[in-house]
Amino acid sequence: MPHALSWVAGLLLCGAASAAEVPSDPAAALDAAIAAAETSLREGELQVAESHYRSALLEGWLLLGDLQATEGQLPLARVSYRRASTSAVETRRALRSLALVHLQSGEAAEAVSLLTGVVGRSPEDVPARRMLAKALTAAGQLEQAVQVLEEAHAAAPDDLELTFALASGYLRLKKVEAAEPLFARIAKERPIPQTHVLIGRTYRDFKEYERARVELQAALKQDPSARRAHYYLGTLGLMAEGPVRLEEAIAEFRQELKVSPADPLASLRLGIALLESRRPAEALPALDLASRSDPPEAEAFHYLGRAQLALDLTTQAVTSLRRALELIKGPPFDEVQRGSVHYNLALALRKVGASEEAATHFAAAELASAHVAESARERLSRYLSDSLEPEPTAAVDPFMEVPLVGLDAAARSALKQRATTALARAYLNLGVMQAQGEHFSRAAAHFESAAEVAPDFPNVQYSLGVAHFNAREFDKATGPLARALAQSPDDAGLRRMLAVSWLNVEAYDKAAELLKDDAARFSDPSLEYAYGLALVRSGRAAEAEAVFARLLALHGDSAELGVVMGQAHAQQGDYESAIETLQAALRRKPDVADANATLGVIFLKQGKLPEAEAALRAELRSNPSDLKSQHHLATVLDLEGRTEEALPLLRAVLKSKPDFADARYLLGKILLAGGAAGEAAEHLEAAARLAPEDANIHYQLGQAYQKLGRTDEAQQQFEIFRQIKDKRRGSTS
């Protein structure tokens, strides 16, 4: 049940719209920012366009956050508000909203921290100060809360809402004398019955029952039909003395309903009071009326179901209680209330013979709360006093501060669609601007954001893939390019880009597959070369040779081609031809990439360690960042017993590529041999995670554990080693 105090105060004291009232178009600022950005784009004013797009991001994330907060999706709202706070120069609204989410999540300290920053930067922001006071109150820092309100009040003495908040703060500190003149001033400035009702309710909330009664009666004296005056009078006795004052409450609630016959809140309270007085038949019409409120209230259906159950209207009771359970899903929810709904639903279901389902709800009731066993009167007392007591819950009331609560689900869904589309559009255009400036990584970051909010937005996957491709982030390019290709399977350019990406991430088989039927191969030697390379590296050397033969015939010899042909020979075990071809390539172009690297590996396999070392060092002179050659060189050095030289090489390799399993393995093995079993184990564990099917890693890891005295773990590793070996033997036999 929404607490009325905040919005009543806002409405009454500022003449502002209530929280339930929604601005005419919540997406207007977002749309305006997008439109302005696009106008600036057309005019060629890129900086202005960028600025507007960033404003659009701010507005879009704020709107999305508001929608999520309205629907109780607080973790999502938190993310959205955080995104809003990093979208543009302005942070104030985003941080205020984020602080509110923290408050709603019961994280008052975080809210205080955020709001302190906001107020520090924008001392004129009165709503932020008010919210800070709320957060401080929720964090139990009552004195500081009042201090904040006093400062704000001093700066804006005519702000009656602030005056009201300060007076309430004084009441919270039991400084009734300090509160009284402020309330009196409010009553003087707004001499209408509603003011007395508001003040009366506030006194009531802080257990100043007699002062509350005086104010509420003053309201009725001014206007006998003043809304909610009877209602609050009805709750006064219950809050002060409990269920013994039920009859008095029932009378006041009936009076209230004479003033406002359709008031769902008064109907609900009357229905509850009558039900708890064991008068379900009288309660039924009031609860029926309460259940028609918009938005629907879980409590109304809960008590309606109970009244129906008591009157043996079991089928209707089941329907009402099921509806109550549906509604109770969103916050604010109460485990006790949930338990009670489950319990009553279980009773109703048992009555209609649905024993199995009933059992489920009994179990859920038990799980939800032990409090379901409390007496009806205790429950009423708790319900009336707790739920009407706004402190400290008013500070964390999720409905009161959320601007979109007045929208229905369909409107919210449409708004969400508009927000995500606009966000995707803004990100996409920001990405395009970055790409135009050749900042491809930054462009990709924007495209990624676009894809995140709207994965199916036109061109988003394509743009993301191309940006990563141009940034040479091939590992990140493959996913979006593959998705884009799935959308446009006839786009040959896209297909080639994806093939090149696969080639660069060493997924040679996929590259070969994509290039296989590409007709452009025959006119584009680089494409044909890429295809041949993909074939060689995916173990299809024989097919590759045909490709290279064709390339040689059509385009003549080249050092690069020679290297790939050499690799093809080596792959087929023809080391003699491989060495000859690679050396020929080196004669043609001494710094041709990969020739020495391949020679080094061939010599390593042949056990010609000095030759291997020379070749690998030659490769690294022209290509110092070649991690594979560094690793191979470390292997050679290890085999030559020069581990002191191998170690820094391997550490440097791993600094650049921490997920290089072979390098981790070799480093671990060398460290283990040198007696550093602890560090060795760390590297070998990492290697085992990266390459779990490599038997040697498990064997070395077992050795390391053994040296460390971790015998059980060592045995486990030896067992894994044995299993992998057995599996290999099995698969090869």
Binding site: Q47, E50, S51, A88
Partner: protein
């Protein structure tokens, strides 16, 4: 005769009119047509012809936005700054062009007119408050004139909006260092270092910030790394000397301070370290001289005044010591106030930590 003379006079008086009416018709130059032609030439890549047309059009009146920017570029490249500025101002005033304002600010900055550049950028920020180029240019101009607060106000949003660009947290850290906020500087500099681990400038700035917080052990590895990358870097050498002095590694501190001073004899940090080394060696007169040089190099640093007061005290000059203590306290207050103003305005860091 008289009549003849009269007729002649009438004829003479009428002559210019007749001449005007008799001359062949020459259409008034049409600025729009000329601009159209310039566009045509640009489309045909006839750059020189286009520029000639643009210059002709500019003499007749204000150009369209894009052509004004184009001509401004041409004039700037040709060294005609006044003409470039005229076109940029025209585009900025008539079309509220942020591009023009940015270019104008660059021009002004290049001419040493920092105030003019800041004014142009303020106008640009009003039109495009969230534009990266505008914020970045504002920050750089502000830093160049040692105005850390406006720089911070531009850089703080940039670090949020562009979290992968190392330059922004680096500059933010530098701005905070300029403002004396050592505590606030560490976090952005660490962020910058994370993004660009081997950038010497960042390593040195972070070392200075950590030294300022007396975190010498944390400062030293980064400074060593900076010297690995740039062995001749004076700032890094001096900062390393300061860290070593803080860690009690006196011979190393002395050696590095000497190395820095050999390259820059007036270097404030190196002189400060040298002074502190000399104090520990009980060579007070030399220490005093080093501190005085440190103050001459950086009159805003309170630490040197404090150390100088100690040197005076050791040399028995109580009045001199007292004067330096007062100066130290005043400098400290000035920095405290500046940092407080900074934090109030930016909300960047809020838990103490001053330059000492």
């Amino acid at each position: 005769m008289t009549r003849l003379l009269r007729v002649l006079a009438v004829l003479l008086a009428a002559a210019p009119v007749l001449a005007q009416t008799a001359a062949p018709v020459s259409p008034a130059p049409d600025i729009k047509a000329i601009q159209r032609r310039a566009r045509q030439y640009l489309a045909e890549s006839r750059e020189n012809d286009a520029v000639a047309e643009l210059r002709r059009a500019a003499k007749l009146g204000p150009l369209d936005r894009d052509l004004a920017l184009k001509l401004a570029n041409v004039e700037q490249a040709a060294g005609n700054r006044a003409l470039a500025e005229k076109q940029l101002r025209s585009a900025a005033d008539r079309f509220k062009s942020v591009q023009a304002l940015l270019q104008l600010a660059r021009l002004q900055s290049g001419q040493g007119d920092a105030a003019g550049a800041l004014e142009s950028l303020t106008r640009a920020r009003a039109l495009a408050p969230n534009a990266e180029d505008v914020l970045s240019a504002s920050a750089q101009v502000a830093l160049a004139v040692r105005a850390p607060l406006p720089a911070i106000l531009a850089l703080e949003p940039l670090t949020r909006m562009c979290p992968t660009v190392a330059q922004y947290p680096y500059l933010l850290g530098v701005a905070l260092l300029q403002a004396g906020d050592m505590l606030g500087a560490v976090e952005p500099l660490q962020q910058a270092q994370k993004l660009e681990p081997s950038r010497v400038l960042t390593l040195v700035a972070l070392g200075l910030a950590l030294n300022g917080r007396k975190m010498y052990a944390e400062a030293k590895p980064g400074l060593l790394r900076a010297l690995e990358l740039e062995p001749e870097n004076v700032e890094a050498t001096a900062a390393l000397a300061e860290a070593e002095d803080g860690l009690g590694e006196l011979p190393e501190a002395e050696a590095h301070a000497e190395r820095a001073l050999a390259r820059a004899s007036g270097h404030a940090t190196a002189n400060l370290v040298m002074g502190m080394v000399r104090m520990k060696q009980e060579r007070y007169a030399e220490a005093r001289a080093a501190f005085e040089r440190a103050i001459a190099g950086d009159p805003g640093s309170p630490k040197a005044y404090y150390q100088l007061s100690l040197a005076y005290a050791r040399l028995g000059d109580e009045a001199g010591a007292q004067k330096q203590v007062e100066l130290y306290q005043r400098k400290l207050r000035e920095i405290d106030e500046q940092v407080h103003r900074l934090r109030t305005a930016t909300g960047i860091s809020d838990n103490g930590g001053m330059r000492r």
